[in-house]
Every structure is written in C-alpha cells, then in structure tokens.
C-alpha cells in the first residue's frame, strides 16, 4: 500500500510536469470543466467573505449620516432631535429585530407589518369598548404571536415555503384588518398614548426599551445556545440536523419571535398615531423592514448579521425617508429610491462574495 502511494505520487508529479508542458490546452480545458455534485463544488463558499469589516459598515454609515446632517441642518444634533428620530425609528427598529431573527434562521417573514396593522386594529377596538390599556397591550401581542405561530408551524413543521406562507399571512392579516375597520382608523384613549409615550429624563421609554431589546437580542444571538442554533440552521439545515440541533423547533420559534416584535411595534405605532388603522401595515412598510435588515448587514441567505445591525439599518432607513420627506420628494418616489437601495446592497453583497 505504501509503495502504491509513493508511485501514484511520483506519477502525479510527472503529470504536473507534463501538464505544464501542455499548459495552453489543458488549462483552458480545465476551466471549462463542470463537475456535478463532486468534491470541488463550492456549495455555500460564496458567502465566505470578510464579515468583520462589513459588520462595521452600517455603524460608520449612520454616524457619517448624522454628522453630515448635523452640519447642514441647525439643531440637528440635539438630544431632543436625536431622541425624536429614534422614536420615529422605534417601530421599524422593533420589526427589524424580528425579521433579523427570521432571516438569520434562513427564512423570510413578509407578514410582520400587516400583523402589526391587524394588532393595532384589535387594540383600538378593545380599548374603545373599555378594555384596560395594559390588558389590551397583551392582546395586541397575542394577536401577532398567534400569526407567527401559524407561520412557524407551516414553515418549520409542514416544511412549506416561507415566502408563500408569510405572503399569504400578510394578505390574510391585512384583509382582516381592512374588513373589520372598513378602512377607517379608530382612535385610542389618551391614557394609552401617554403611558406608552412617557419619557424618562427627556428620553422616550420606548426608545430605551428598543435599546435594551437590541442589546439583549444581539447578546443572545452571539452567546446563547439558541443563538448558535439559529445561525447554524440558517447556514446549513442538514448539517444542523446531523449535529443534533432541533431544527424544526428553531425554525418555528423564529416566526414566533418575529410575531412578538410585530406586536411590540404595533403597541408603539398605535400610541404614536393615536389610532389603530389597517393602513399602518401597508405594502411599503415590509420594504422598509427588509431594507433595514439588509442595510444593517443581515444576509437574506441566512446565517449572517445580527439584531444591532438591523436596528442601525432601521435608523438609516428612517433618516433617508425623513430627508426625502422634508425635501418634498413624493412618497411614491421614496419607494422607488428605497427599492433601489435594497437591490444595490444585495447586488454589492453578492458581487463581493463571489
């Protein structure tokens, strides 16, 4: 055996030398070689990239954006203004955390904004009928979590395609919300608004909550058992199964978590608008949610990014929307621009990883 190996090695050496002599022909031919399912197949290798540097990009971008805006707009860099921007960005930031969990786990959830809209409508109805605002807040969470459970069960256990499942859920939730309200928005009581929008030392409680949730989610993603499972499942379901990870449960849970964050976003946005309305979950919002995650470095292919990035992405998207709004750019044109931003970032990512 040992002999044989030496022989084959020598032959290989000779082969290489011969090959060098025949360089032109053999190399061009080799380039054309297509191997089906063989060893050299670079499955997944295109996602190999320098994650470190990339994960700082959204940070740098958001700071640069603040500085530039600070130079041009008076009173921009005041605590009051910044906390205002953060308050505006909070619902989107919460949804971005939710979708980052689903995206890292290798799925997608298009139903987040419409579940949020439906939840807002439910909340408004219950409060109108005299429900305790805190109890109602729990109901609002429950509505979204229930939607997430259905999504998660269909994707995780029934192995349905996430795009189709959550797209249908989006239609169901939005349809239900519009049907219940007949498209009219319904006001909520002052006490609810005041509680949710309360401030501590001039900073809205919900902004503080967002910061804490972001930190906790990011830490759990990095260091908890569940977090590790999440990334593993997002990168390679099969390998995760082989390693003994409860894949179905992990996938199921990602949609439940995104439902939970949709519910949190619903509470904040209902308070901010002072009303529950089906239209808060309109089509443009899901674009913002996905843009936030993608801008923040979460890969739509799964297994990459974190909650902090997604929230920073949400702040960037909110700023861009604001700037365009203030410059009197049409809302419709804003959609066009934001759509292109997502395409551009995904394109940059896929080129960079090739």
């Amino acid at each position: 055996m040992v002999f044989k190996n030496n022989n084959s090695k020598n032959e290989k050496g000779e082969m290489v030398r011969k090959k060098e002599r025949l360089a032109n022909v053999s190399i061009t031919k080799k380039d054309k070689v297509r191997i089906f399912g063989q060893e050299g197949n670079p499955i997944g290798t295109r996602r190999v990239a320098n994650m470190r540097v990339v994960s700082y990009l959204p940070f740098i971008f958001v700071i640069a954006l603040f500085i530039i805006l600070g130079l041009f707009i008076p009173h921009f860099l005041t605590i009051r203004n910044i906390s205002n921007i953060l308050l505006q960005a909070t619902p989107l930031g919460l949804m971005a955390i939710g979708i980052s969990v689903v995206l890292i786990g290798g799925g997608i959830d298009l139903s987040i904004p419409s579940l949020m809209g439906l939840s807002g409508v439910f909340g408004a109805i219950f409060m109108k009928n005299g429900g305790n605002p805190f109890l109602v807040a729990l109901i609002m969470l429950a509505v979204c979590i229930l939607g997430g459970c259905i999504n998660g069960f269909a994707v995780g256990y029934l192995k349905m395609v996430p795009f189709i499942v959550t797209f249908s859920m989006m239609t169901v939730a939005m349809g239900a919300a519009l049907w219940i309200t007949k498209g009219v928005s319904m006001g909520v009581p002052r006490v609810f608004i005041d509680t949710i929008l309360a401030k501590i030392w001039g900073i809205p409680v919900v902004v503080i909550a967002l910061i804490i949730l972001t930190a906790v989610a990011t830490l759990l993603m990095r260091k908890s058992l569940y977090g590790r499972w999440l990334y593993a499942v997002g990168v390679n379901v099969e390998a995760s199964r082989v390693a003994g990870i409860p894949v179905k449960r992990v996938i199921f849970s990602t949609y439940v978590i995104s439902g939970l964050f949709a519910g949190l976003a619903a509470i904040v946005i209902t308070a901010r608008l002072g009303a529950g309305a089906a239209t808060i979950g309109r089509e443009g919002v899901i674009l913002d949610v996905i843009s936030s995650a993608v801008v923040g470095g979460v890969s739509i292919l799964g297994g990459m990014g974190n909650a902090l990035g997604a929230v920073i992405g949400a702040i960037i998207i909110t700023l861009i929307s604001n700037i365009m709004n203030l410059s009197h750019v049409s809302y419709y044109l804003t959609l066009v621009v934001k759509g292109f931003i997502v395409i551009a970032i995904v394109a940059i990512n896929s080129f960079r990883m090739k």
Partner: protein
C-alpha cells in the same frame, strides 16, 4: 478484426485530491459488448462521463472512425451517436413517457411537435423491450424498474452507434433483465458498440464479449470473455497482491461489551431486516457496493432517516437498553458521506463548527449563556490533538483543505464524546497524508473504548482499520467476516456469487 468505431488515447482526469483517470486508452468495436468492471472509485463512471460529454478530460484524445473529435457536452455525444443509460434515472417525473423519450429529438413540423409520429416511435421501441406501457403515462406513475426501461428505451430511440449502459439492471426484474439482454444481443447484430457496466459479475459472462477492468483510474487488464474466469475478474479488480492490513493490532484486539445492538431494522425498499451488534473498542467495517444500503443504514441508525420497523439498543452506563429512535443522536456521532453538504457550516469559523454538537456542555455556570472562554480552550485542545493546521480558530472552514475540514468534523464529535461513532466515507477525497492521519485518529478512538462503524468505498482503507466486516447487498446484510477475511471474499460477497444469487 473489424474497424474500430471509437478509440480513446491517454485519457486522464483529476478531481481535487483524486486522480480519477490516468492514461486510459481503449478501442471500441462495432457489434461488440464491452464490459467495464472495477471497484467503486476505480474510474469507470468518470470514464463514461468523459465519453458522454458530462465531464471533460484534462488530457487525451478521442477518435471516432479515425477522426479526432471533441466531446464537450452531452449534445456533442448525441451528435456522434453516443447514448448513455444512466445508473440513476434522469427522467422528468411529471412528464409522459413520450415527452421523456423524445425530449432531445422531438419530431416536429415548423416547431409543432408531431405527437402521432412520436407516439409511434416510442411504442415500437418499447415493444422491442417487451413492454406495452401506454406511452402517455406519466413517469411518476411507473415503478422504478419500468422507469429504468424507459431510460433504456430512450437510448434505443435515436440513431446511436455506441450505447453505454451504466448498471442498467439494478432495478430490473429477472424477466426484464432477460429481455434487456436479448435486446443487447440484437443491437450487437446491428453493429452497434455497447459498453456494459455492472457490479454483478455473473451478468458479464451472460452478455459481454470482452472485458476491461479498471483499478485506481487505470486499466488493470482485460481480455476476451471466453478466456477469463470469475476469479480472474476479481483479481484484476483488486490487484495481484492481497495486501494485508498493516494495522495488525486491530485484529488482535479484544473487544468489549456490546455498545449498540440493532434488531430487525427495516425501511421499506431500502433496508431489510438488519441485525448486528457493535462492541466497545471495535471497528466494524461495512462493505457494499454503491446503492447497497450502507449509507442508508448509517442515516437510519442515527435517526436522520425514518425507520419502519426494528429496535436500536444502546449501552447506557453498563446496561443495554432500547432507545427511542429519535433520541439516537444523543449517543451516536455521525460523520456523513458529504462533509460540505451536511457536515460543516462552511462560512462559519473552525471554533463554531467544533462546538456545534456540544453547545449544551459549554453553557456557563453563572448565566445561561455559552462560556466562550471554555469553548475556545476546548477547541484549541482538539485542534492541537488532531493536528488541524490553522493559524486561528476564527478561520472559516470553507477555506481549509479537505483533510483539515474532515478533522474539524472529527473534532466536533470528539468534543461531544459519544460512545458510538458512525463514519461514512471518512477519508473520501483526502490526500494520502490526511487519510493516514484520519486512520490514526480512528485507531486512538477505538483504543479509548469507542465503538466505531465505518463505511468506505476504498476496500484497502476499510481493511486497514476494521476488525470485523459486514457485507451489504440490496439493503440486506448478506455476509459477516472476521479480520482474517481476504479482499476477494468481501468483493465476491458484495457482488453476489452467481450460484447463490436468489432469482
């Protein structure tokens, strides 16, 4: 002898880490059935893929009727009259038999398919094979044997000069098989060259005129069938010298208590009543041809595939107890056949991959989070122990060589430290050095009392490490051998002795 139809000169082809073909020159004559044999990985399939245009050779020339040709894709092969009946059917399940048979050559009038003509052609070809299926039936409604027939019929449909049959009989019934052999004989009379690949050696003596044996990507020998015996074929396939295992101590080792007992494990159509016991400190080698059910057995044992029947018992602290099938992963570590597909998280770091199966153990005592310091420490230990050549634990596994990747997978299971390891092709695609290192690690594991079930297509390697063998064929365990068994014993048992073959 008659003029050659096709001649290859010096065909060579290498895949990363393997020289699949080395300087293969063969002549094919019209009206002759040439049988090509060889163990798994001998290069048969690669050679056929070169002829069929599925893979391009690195070097070498192909002449057809004396003219130098280039076969760059399956369409080229079709153009030169080469048809390929694949081992695994490559049919479109939702389409009809007609669509499948005519897909590359629909008779048409200004772009519209002439279904009437197509149907006639298909029917006559199918009749020739002794079948009268409705050609409008959908492929998915046919049983595997009938699908194989359609695959064969497709090759017969065109004006072909050379037909390659790659294990065409694997899912055929005896009746269909006889019919196929008759068709092959009639094709021969028409002057068509035929290449017939099979693992069932007695079939060669039924249909072939000439035989060529491949070994390690080279031609090991061959000749006219009349002058060859069954024994000759086996010795051509495995080489002259019966190399014995040089890890002699494996055979002398005293094995311990049973670690795993499998009782009448069955999965419909895949595994049939599997019974065996695996002991602590033992390496049990499973030998069988591709498709014999060896990988399926491994996957079923750890619960990656479902089972219909059977019990798995595992030694838990000294007592052997039946376990629930879905819990099998708790005690058994599995190194799967395809490390890139289901073994590794390619874009992740070495450390993440090593800790993947043992995360529960790494949870800190202080709070319910992973103790990254401990993780780094343990990973580092394993990297040193297995001699994984990396500069940093953060290195992405996708950038490592095959050998180091395989060691990362081994490290993953070593950290988990299960009682039982199942290794499916643990050294596939590795360099010679990496192979021997993996074998060394297997040796260390066994010495420490682990029970190992190993599957390998490389009989030399299998014999190097195993202390006992089970031979599988068609989803059943057909033979058991002790360490003293010879290579030809194993190969003959896997190929099925012609006398014992159950019809």
């Amino acid at each position: 002898m008659t003029e050659t139809f096709l001649r290859t000169i010096g065909i060579s082809k290498s895949f990363p880490g393997v020289q699949a073909l080395n300087n293969v020159s063969i002549e094919f004559f019209p009206g002759e059935v040439l049988s090509i044999v060889g163990t798994n990985g001998a290069g048969k399939t690669t050679f056929m893929n070169v002829l069929g245009g599925i893979v391009q050779a690195d070097k070498g020339e192909i002449y057809i009727e004396g003219k130098l040709v280039e076969i760059n894709n399956p369409l080229d092969a079709e153009k030169y009259g080469i048809a390929f009946v694949h081992q695994e059917t490559s049919l479109f399940p939702y389409m009809s038999i007609i669509d499948n048979m005519c897909i590359s050559s629909f008779p048409n009038r200004i772009g519209f398919i002439d279904y009437k003509l197509a149907k006639e052609r298909c029917e006559s070809t199918l009749r020739r094979l002794g079948c009268n299926f409705n050609p409008r039936a959908k492929i998915q409604d046919l049983c595997p044997g009938d699908q194989q027939i359609v695959e064969i019929a497709r090759a017969l449909l065109g004006e072909h000069r050379l037909i390659i049959f790659d294990e065409p009989t694997s899912s055929l019934s005896i009746r269909e098989k006889t019919r196929l052999f008759e068709v092959i004989k009639s094709l021969k009379k028409e002057g068509i060259s035929i290449i017939f690949i099979t693992h069932l050696l007695h079939e060669i003596f039924e249909v072939a005129d000439r035989l060529i044996a491949f070994r390690n990507g080279e031609i090991a020998g061959g000749g006219i069938i009349e002058n060859i015996t069954y024994k000759d074929v086996i010795s051509l396939m495995i080489g002259e010298k019966e190399t014995d295992s040089f890890f002699g101590h494996r055979t002398l080792k005293v094995v311990g208590d049973p670690a795993l007992e499998v009782e009448s494990l069955s999965r419909r159509g895949v595994l049939d009543n599997i019974n065996f016991t695996l002991h602590k400190g033992e390496v049990l080698g499973i030998w069988g041809l591709l498709g014999s059910g060896r990988t399926e057995l491994a996957r079923a044992l750890v619960g990656l595939d479902p089972i219909d029947k059977g019990r798995i018992k595992i030694n838990q602290n000294g007592t052997i107890k039946a376990i629930r099938h879905r819990d099998a992963k708790k005690w058994i570590g599995i190194i799967t056949e395809n490390r890139r597909k289901d073994g590794l998280l390619l874009p992740m770091s070495v450390k993440t991959n090593i800790s993947l199966a043992s995360l529960r153990k790494l949870i800190s005592r202080v709070w319910p989070l992973i103790d990254t310091k401990l993780e780094t420490e343990l990973s580092k230990k394993l990297v040193n122990r297995l001699d994984i050549k990396i500069t940093s634990l953060e290195r992405q596994v996708a950038t490592l060589s095959g050998g180091n990747q395989q060691k990362v997978i081994l490290a993953k299971w070593l950290l988990r430290n299960p009682l039982i390891y199942i290794m499916d092709e643990p050294t596939r695609g590795l360099s010679v050095e990496a192979r021997s290192e993996v074998d060394r690690i297997i040796g260390e594991l066994v010495d420490s009392g682990a029970a190992i079930l190993i599957i390998s297509s490389d009989i030399d390697e299998l014999m190097n490490v195993s202390g006992r063998y089970l031979v599988m064929r068609r989803g059943r365990i057909v033979a058991e051998f002790q360490a003293e068994a010879s290579k030809s014993d194993l190969i003959a048992a896997a190929a099925g002795d012609s006398h014992k073959e159950v019809c």
